[in-house]
C-alpha cells in the first residue's frame, strides 16, 4: 500500500507507523502522561514499570531525546543501557559486568554527542580533547569504520549502526563536523595511551568528564530490555538478582550526579524490593498505566501532531457523526497497550485504503465498515498473539 491516506487526510507524516520508538523521529511531540515523564526526568534514581509493549522503551528514548532538545546546554547526559544490545544472554550479575558495558555505551554516547553537536568537543581544552578521543578509540571497536561513515555528514547512520537508541534525527553544521573529524583524525594518528585502570576508575573518569569538564548537569543511566532475555523474562527473581548489585549503587551515585533510571517489567518489582532492602526507598517508582481513555488520548495526540494541529482525531475524516469518538471506540477493543492500539489504527487505515482503492471516486473518508473490518481482523488474527506475549511476560 502506498499510504494514500496520508495525502487524502493531509497528514504530514505517518504517526502510527513505528512500532519501535527509536525509529520514530517525531516521538518527542507525542508525550502524554506527564507524571511518568516527570519521574524519568527528575534528578532521582527511578524505576518505571510496564508490561511488554506498554511504553517503557518509548519513554526511555523520549527521556534521552529530551536531554538533547536544544543541542546541549546545562542538560542531563543520557547513557542508554539496553541490556540485549550489550549482552548476548542474561548471564550478568556483578557490578563489573555492568560497568564494563555502561562504559562501552558511554563511549557510544560521547562519540555521538560530538557527532551531532561538534561544538561540545571543539570548545573543550586540547588536553581534554585528547583524553576523550582516546577513550572513544579504545571503547568503540572499528572506530575507523564509524569515522568514515560520519564523514558523509549523517550521525544518524552512525547511531543506527552503533546503537539505534542514540538516533536524534539531527544534522550537524558541516563546517563544525569537518573540524571535529580533523581533530579526531589528528589524535587517531597518535599512539594510544596505555590503560591500566580498573573498570570502576574508568567509569568514574568518564562521569567526571561529562559532569565536570563538559558541563552537563548529570548523567542519566537508562536501563531497559530486561524482558528481552527469555531467561530473565521467565524468571523475575533471577532478573532481579542480576540487576541488584547495579541498583544497589544508585543511591550512592546520586552524590556524583549519576541517576539510574530502570525501565522494568512489573514482575520484577517485588524481587528487587527484597534484594535492595533499605535502599529501595531511594527510588521513585511509577507504573505506566494504560486504559482506553489514555490510549485514545495517545492516538489523538499523534493525529494532532501529524496534521500540525488541523484536527486531533481521525473522526474529522470519518463518516462518524461529529462528537463521536473514533479513537475511544478502537481503544476500548484492544488489550490496553500502546503497541496494540497502534496496530489496530494501522489496520483501519489499511481497510480504508483497500476499499477506496477499489473505488477511487468514493469519498475520502473512513467509514464505519472500515472500522468494523479492522476490528474483526484484530479479534481474529491479533488477540491470540498478544495474549501469548502477555503469558510469556508473566512466566
Amino acid at each position: 500500500m502506498d499510504k494514500l491516506w496520508l495525502d487524502h487526510f493531509n497528514f504530514r507524516f505517518d504517526p502510527f507507523e513505528h512500532g519501535e520508538a527509536s525509529r520514530d523521529p517525531n516521538l518527542n511531540r507525542y508525550l502524554i502522561g506527564h507524571e511518568a515523564f516527570s519521574v524519568a526526568w527528575s534528578e532521582t534514581p527511578a524505576m518505571i514499570y510496564s508490561p511488554p509493549g506498554g511504553g517503557k522503551t518509548a519513554l526511555r528514548i523520549y527521556t534521552a531525546r529530551a536531554c538533547w532538545t536544544g543541542g546541549g546546554g546545562y542538560q542531563p547526559f543520557p547513557i542508554h543501557y539496553h541490556l540485549p544490545h550489550y549482552f548476548k544472554n542474561g548471564d550478568f550479575s556483578t557490578v563489573e559486568d555492568h560497568l564494563e558495558q555502561i562504559v562501552h555505551s558511554g563511549a557510544h554516547a560521547l562519540f555521538l554527542a560530538f557527532a551531532y553537536y561538534p561544538l561540545i568537543f571543539i570548545r573543550s581544552a586540547p588536553s581534554l580533547q585528547k583524553q576523550l578521543a582516546q577513550f572513544i578509540f579504545t571503547w568503540i571497536p572499528k572506530i575507523d569504520f564509524y569515522l568514515d561513515v560520519l564523514r558523509e555528514g549523517k550521525p544518524d547512520e552512525v547511531a543506527g549502526q552503533l546503537d539505534g537508541s542514540y538516533k536524534l534525527y539531527q544534522t550537524p553544521d558541516p563546517t563544525l563536523l569537518a573540524l571535529l573529524l580533523e581533530i579526531l583524525a589528528k589524535y587517531h594518528r597518535e599512539d594510544p595511551l596505555p590503560v591500566s585502570l580498573s573498570i570502576q576508575k574508568i567509569f568514574e573518569r568518564m562521569v567526571h568528564w561529562i559532569t565536570g569538564d563538559l558541563g552537563f548537569r548529570a548523567v542519566y543511566l537508562l536501563l531497559d530490555g530486561v524482558d528481552g532475555f527469555p531467561e530473565l523474562a521467565s524468571s523475575p527473581g533471577f532478573a532481579a538478582q542480576s540487576l541488584a548489585q547495579l541498583f544497589a549503587k544508585a543511591p550512592k551515585w546520586t552524590a556524583s550526579h549519576i541517576f539510574v533510571k530502570g525501565f522494568l517489567p512489573q514482575e520484577i518489582r517485588a524481587h528487587l524490593r527484597e534484594q535492595l532492602e533499605d535502599r529501595w526507598t531511594a527510588f521513585d517508582q511509577i507504573d505506566l498505566k494504560w486504559d482506553a481513555a489514555i490510549l485514545a488520548d495517545m492516538l489523538r495526540r499523534r493525529t494532532y501532531v501529524a496534521t500540525e494541529g488541523e484536527f486531533a482525531s481521525l473522526s474529522a475524516v470519518s463518516a462518524l457523526p461529529s462528537n463521536q469518538d473514533l479513537e475511544l471506540e478502537l481503544a476500548r477493543v484492544v488489550n490496553p497497550l500502546p503497541r496494540e492500539a497502534l496496530t489496530l489504527v494501522r489496520q483501519v487505515l489499511f481497510e480504508y485504503e483497500t476499499r477506496w482503492g477499489r473505488n477511487p471516486t468514493a469519498a475520502k473518508q473512513i467509514r464505519i465498515e472500515d472500522m468494523e473490518k479492522a476490528l474483526a481482523w484484530y479479534r481474529n488474527d491479533q488477540a491470540h498473539i498478544t495474549k501469548e506475549l502477555a503469558s510469556i511476560a508473566q512466566g
Binding site: 561544538l119 486531533a312 474529522a316
Partner: protein, 406 residues
Amino acid sequence: MAAKFIQSSSYDPKKFIDREEEIQQILTLLKQSQPRVRAIVIDGDRGVGKTWLSLHLQRTIFKEKITGITSWLFSLWSPGENYRPEGEGTQTNERFVRDGEQLKLDEFLEIIIKSLSIELPPNPTLAEKVDSIRRYVQSHVDHRFVLILDSAYESDWSLIEQLETHFLGNLLTLGNFFVIVTGRGRPYPWKVPYLIEAIRFGLGKFTVDQIKEQLKKFGLSSVLSVNDIFSIGQGWPLFTEQLARAKNHAEALDIAADILFAVLPSYERAIVREYFEALCPLEGFGEAEAFVMVQAYKPDNKEDGRSICRKMNETRLISWKNGRYEMNQPVQNILRQYLPIKNKEAWIHLQNAAYCHFKEQAADRSMERFRPFFEKLMETHAKVLSEMGIKDTQICSEHKPEEALS
C-alpha cells in the same frame, strides 16, 4: 462588508486595565532563586488582550517593578493591516512581524546578540551564535533574561520548531533564562521538557466593571450601555473601544463581526466569513455539516466539506474540541447575534438546513446506533425555528451525502 471600524488604539500604559493576578504570578516566578519551572504559557481567544499584556510586561512592568532583568518581545503574527498594537516606530528589544512577513531564526538571534553586545567569531555558525548567547546568560547568574513570544501558536510553526530545537531547549536549561509564550487556537506540541512542564493560564474576559473602567481610561462615551457592550463583546477587551463608537446595536454587531474577520487576508476574507456565518448555528461540526450548511447559505459553493474546514482552520478561529470543530467563543457569540438581525431569512434557512441534515442522518440505517444523538440535534434546531415563529419545518430536499466530500 467593508470594515467600518477605525484602527484600534495602540498600547498605552495609561489605558491598561488590571491583569494584576497574572502579572503578580509572573513577577513571583522571576523573583525566585533558580525556579524549576521557567516557562509560562498564556492562552486565550482573539481579543482577550494577550498582546497588550505582552507589551505591558515588556515596556512597563519589567522596567518599573523588577531590577536586573533583560527582556525581549517578539510578536510572531500580525493581526492584519488594520491594527498595530505596538504603535508606530520601533523600540529596542522588540520585533513585531508584519502582515505577510516571515521572521527567520537568524534575524531573531541577531536581535538578541546585538542587544547583549556579544562578540562573535567571524562567520559564526548557528550553533556558535546560540552557544555565545548561552555563555553570556550563564556568566550573568545574578541577572534575569526573559523572552516573550507573543502570538506563537498563530505564527509559522516552522519558526517555532527551529526556535525550540536550536535555542529554547538550550537556553531554558539555565536557571536565569525564562520564556513567556502567548497564543490562541491550536497549541504547539512542544518537545522541550521545560515548555511541556510550563505554568499555564488563560486570560479571563473582562467584567462589566472592567469594561466601564476601560471606557473611562480610553475617554469614551458610548451610545450603547456598558451592559450592551458586555453582551455583544462578551467581555473581550478588544471590542470595547469599537463598540463604544457604534451608533446603535445593529451597527455594533456589524463592527464586532468586522473586527473578528479583520485578521484574515483581504483576498479571502469575504468568502471565509461566509463559511463562519453558515456554520454559526451549529455547536460544532464535521466535514459533512460544513458542506451542507455552506451549500444552504451559498448555493453556488464549489468547495467540498474538507476544503471548507481546512480554510476555516487556517484562520485559527476554530479548533478541534470535543470530537468536532468548534468556533472560538467570541466568534460564535457575535455571529449568532449578528446573523438573525442582519439576515433573518438566511438564519431561518440555515436552522432548517441543519434540521434536515440531522433528520437525514437519523434515518440512515448505517448510522442507526447514533439515532438518539441526531434526534437531539434535530430537536435543538426545531426549537430555534419554533421560537422564530416557524411552526412546521420546511420540506427537506433529498441530497447525497457523498457530495459533501472530495
